[in-house]
Symmetry: C2
DNA sequence: TCGTGATGGTAAAAGGTTTTATCAGATTCT
DNA sequence: AGAATCTGATAAAACCTTTTACCATCACGA
């Protein structure tokens, strides 16, 4: 019993088994050149029979397209990066593109290391994603020999980026509250130095008009608690609705309200931001919130990089994708 | 002004610029073969000057090592997969290995697609990760031409896998509670059909001895609530400690206890499982919980696949990594 | 009969690197 | 002096595929 050859089958093997030349085998398999239909079928059948799969490395070396892209991410895979990565991968896998995931931890050394590895591997493009819009990448990404797309991050002028439309999201939240006849709407949000915070705050202010009040803090439940404690301790009119900068704050707000005996949604309606389901589905009552459509963001970025990799043009600029309102029970029914 | 060549520099360019043959250039850069120290330095300097970086595709094609591995994951990037992926990537990047991330969504078609792409790319190894231990991979992974390592998943006999030591984790939790003089310890956990649930339950039962009581449910806060409602509604002795199957259940438990006026940790101590910080840090009081060391799991898997990729042996079997206890405030002080 | 055009196939080059075998020259040994 | 050894460098093969240019063969019309 001879030990059978465990080597991967090459196109040589196909050619030999089908009694044709290597070039004919290649042509037949790829449908290029001129091949008789009969030989073409024979070659294909043989290839399948012996389990031939082309070596992607050799192919890429020649065609100068690696069919791989790199995804450079800023954080240790937060809740933001992952849905986006899933979205990217989802649209690319059927096109035969694979994704290198590179977590930089915002460390320039690591970022450079990853970037060089990606370029050495001749990736067809790079997607850079961050956890906030206004941080520069930890490594120089302009003047690269491959196209770059920014997601949840803004690149230099004339670059291609995809970000959620914070203004639209904030407006969505406020309009929803207004449509439920809430008139004294408070905004409890995150740190003022976040661009997204300022954008949302601005949209909120415009939409609410007079009587707008914004409390800046951090992204924690804790801050939601203390904001409520402060607001409900003072004299004067009280809000009948609160638009929160993210779901964690919203959760803190809801709990603080319950602690002081204010009913949600009867007395105060609450809207969150993020639709981070581990939080938004588990608050009592479940949280009505704004979804930034992160996966869709990933889809679009994937499609863009696909076009660019093919050598086609993509219009530069910042694409702001609409958010969506996820209605649960923290605002009461639409029909009250 | 002549438009300068934008092509990537090849070793040909280095050889020409340093006035040596290609082989000498290669030898000098890699420290192989016999080269005069002087020419070696010259070649290296020239290479750096003109910005030469070897084409990884060409190199891999020849050496049959792609320095890339695939990570096949079961879910749409849950909280479990990501820390592990970060751990894997962390130990590999400095070794020059890159990671393809493939989310299969537990869809066999997608899994096969990804797997074939990985093999075509000649990856040096594959890491399979799941979200629970007792689900078979969505695609056949035995008899692959590359080594496979399982993380948070158990492969077939004689495969190499890394999983958290649930028994150790559960024991850690119970021992902690016992050391704080808690004597009536209840276990509120997830669905009985999870292997991990049964393992932890068994360890809990052994450690507690007589008086053990286990309530199975699902993984939600909701279930935590209703478990408490049930237990505290009935007659008889009440628990002075609760060991929860995960942090979400623990959060539900803590809130339910507060709702009915039972103090945590004074009256009842609570321990969670997972150390999912968005929950465990934000409960009131912050949750003492078991950390499964997911990143460390990733580290170990990365190291294992690295060895295997080098062609070295790794002892087969299931490696159970110890968990760690993260003490916060839901059990009271050690020194009470 | 000869040229023309289509058809089906092939040899060889190319892609960028590593590695093996070989070679020329200098040095040492007998 | 001649042989043996050592040193430093190189040509060429190899990895596996795609693609270009070319070569037979055959049919057809002039």
């Amino acid at each position: 019993m001879t030990d059978r050859d465990t080597r991967r089958r090459t196109i040589h093997d196909v050619a030999k088994a089908a009694r044709v030349s290597i070039s004919t085998a290649s042509n037949a398999l790829n449908g290029t050149g001129r091949t008789n239909v009969e030989t073409r079928e024979r070659v294909k059948r043989v290839a399948k029979d012996i389990g031939f799969r082309p070596n992607a490395l050799a192919r890429s070396l020649l065609t100068k397209r690696s069919h791989a892209i790199g995804m450079l991410t800023n954080d240790t895979y937060g809740r933001l990066t992952l849905p986006m990565a899933a979205g990217v991968s989802e649209v690319l896998v059927d096109q035969g593109l694979s994704v290198f995931l590179c977590a930089t931890n915002n460390d320039p050394r690591l970022a450079r290391l990853h970037l060089e590895a990606l370029l050495d591997r001749q990736v067809d493009g790079i997607i850079f994603t961050a956890t906030r819009l206004d941080l520069p990448p930890p490594v120089e990404l302009t003047k690269l020999p491959v196209p770059v797309v920014y997601v949840f991050a803004e690149g230099p002028p004339d670059s291609i980026s995809f970000v959620p439309d914070d203004i639209h999201g904030a407006r969505l939240a406020v309009e929803h509250l207004k449509s439920l006849s809430r008139s004294r709407i408070l905004h409890v949000t995150g740190p003022h130095d976040y661009l997204a915070v300022r954008r949302r705050a601005e949209a909120y202010r415009e939409s609410v008009g007079s009587g707008a009040e914004i409390l800046y803090g951090d992204w924690s439940e804790e801050w939601g608690h203390s904001a409520i404690d402060e607001v409900f301790a003072r004299k004067g009119p009280r809000p009948d609705a609160i638009f929160c900068g993210n779901d964690e704050i919203a959760r803190g707000v809801i709990e603080a309200l319950r602690d002081i005996g204010v009913r949600v949604p009867e007395d105060v309606a609450v809207v969150g931001f993020d639709n981070w389901e581990v939080i938004s589905k588990q608050t009592r009552p479940p949280l009505t919130t704004i979804d930034m459509q992160l996966k869709e963001l990933g889809h679009q970025a994937g499609l863009a990089i696909l076009e660019l990799a093919k050598g086609e043009e993509v219009a530069p600029g910042t694409n702001r994708l609409p958010c969506s309102l996820v209605v649960r029970q923290s605002c009461g029914s639409m029909t009250r």
